[in-house]
């Protein structure tokens, strides 16, 4: 029987729905380590309408007298994560801002949590190892299971919070992680 007549497993959508995360929510955590110790500025969750991961590098070329590229190198290898989604109220004991409420007030408090570019971003996304944080992803009301098999160690480079008329308020976060030049090494927290 042809494969197509039965269906084929394909990654679908921004959120897989294994039994470990049936509500389809990703947990995120923002940590300020500028003072030498970790201060958590946000620990909550979002419906991620889009999670985008890009691998990038800068390049340099050597050319001969005819202008032909005879050699090139890449450097500044990095991966860039873009998260877009709606932030939820997060009725969870570990929530930051704190509070175990399922209210609009708590949702507003989570949306308005102050943080800055340059802070660390941890993500709990079990089904996407490149995004999932290493070593300890955060948990939240609707995403309580974690996996330590993550490769994410991101720093926020850009963040936007949008409240527009006729729509839910949304966060857009861009974060970057520089990668080891030696590809044989682990992509770990020490990168």
């Amino acid at each position: 029987m042809a494969k197509l007549s039965r269906g084929t497993p394909i990654t679908y959508g921004s959120i897989d729905k294994p039994s470990t995360n049936p509500t389809g929510v990703i947990s995120i955590e923002i940590i300020d380590d500028s003072t030498g110790s970790d201060v958590t500025k946000f620990r909550g969750e979002m419906y991620a309408s889009e999670v985008k991961l890009a691998y990038e590098a800068d390049t340099n070329q050597a050319t001969d007298s005819f202008g032909e590229v005879v050699s090139h190198c890449t450097y500044n290898q990095r991966k860039t994560l873009n998260l877009t989604g709606v932030v939820l109220s997060n009725n969870h004991a570990g929530s930051i801002p704190a509070g175990t409420d399922s209210t609009i007030t708590k949702a507003n408090s989570m949306f308005g949590a102050p943080f800055s570019a340059g802070m660390k971003l941890n993500v709990n996304f079990i089904d996407w190892q490149e995004v999932n944080s290493e070593p300890t992803p955060p948990v939240s009301e609707n995403n309580t299971t974690t996996s330590n098999a993550g490769l994410g160690n991101f720093t926020i480079t850009n963040a936007e919070k949008t409240r527009s008329s006729g729509n839910y308020a949304e966060w857009t976060i861009s974060a970057i992680e520089y990668l080891s030049v030696a590809h044989g090494g682990d992509d770990t927290i020490t990168d």
Partner: protein, 139 residues
């Protein structure tokens, strides 16, 4: 209760406080006497996906009979009711639809159109169509 029942009940209860004529829900088991306001749920679409929150479209219709069999001064009552509904659906007042304990929460309005007037057999109908974001829950 379903989204349909819950949102119709919430809208009807809210509008009943604003107008002086009966407010009925779309599917009812009572005889309609005009003038009246009929609230009916049209459709809902989940937004954001997987959240359980819905973008709900509703129609609010003011109906009056303006011939000899209609109530005296029916047209004046009709015009006044349309005006009251118009005000009640304004962004300033509509958040008042959120009542404690009704397991319905209105977040905000997305679109509104009307009143669109129709006259048929001396029954005048004016219809407002409104789309708003809402959830079943007491937030």
């Amino acid at each position: 209760m379903s989204y349909r029942n819950q949102s119709e009940a919430a809208m009807a209860a809210y509008l009943q406080e604003k107008v002086g004529v009966p407010v009925l829900v779309g599917l009812r088991d009572e005889v309609k006497s005009m003038p009246c306001v009929v609230v009916s749920f049209v459709s809902a679409q989940e937004n954001p996906p997987e959240s359980g929150n819905m973008d709900i479209q509703m129609q609010i219709m003011v109906q009056s009979q303006i011939d000899d069999e209609g109530a005296p001064g029916a047209l004046d009552v009709h015009e006044a009711t349309v005006s009251e509904i118009d005000t009640a659906l304004g962004s300033e007042l509509l958040p008042g639809i959120n009542q404690a304990g009704d397991f319905f929460h209105y977040f905000g309005k997305q679109e509104q159109s009307g009143p669109d007037r129709e006259l048929q057999d001396m029954v005048v109908s004016e219809m407002f169509t409104i789309t708003f974001a809402a959830a079943l829950g007491d937030f």
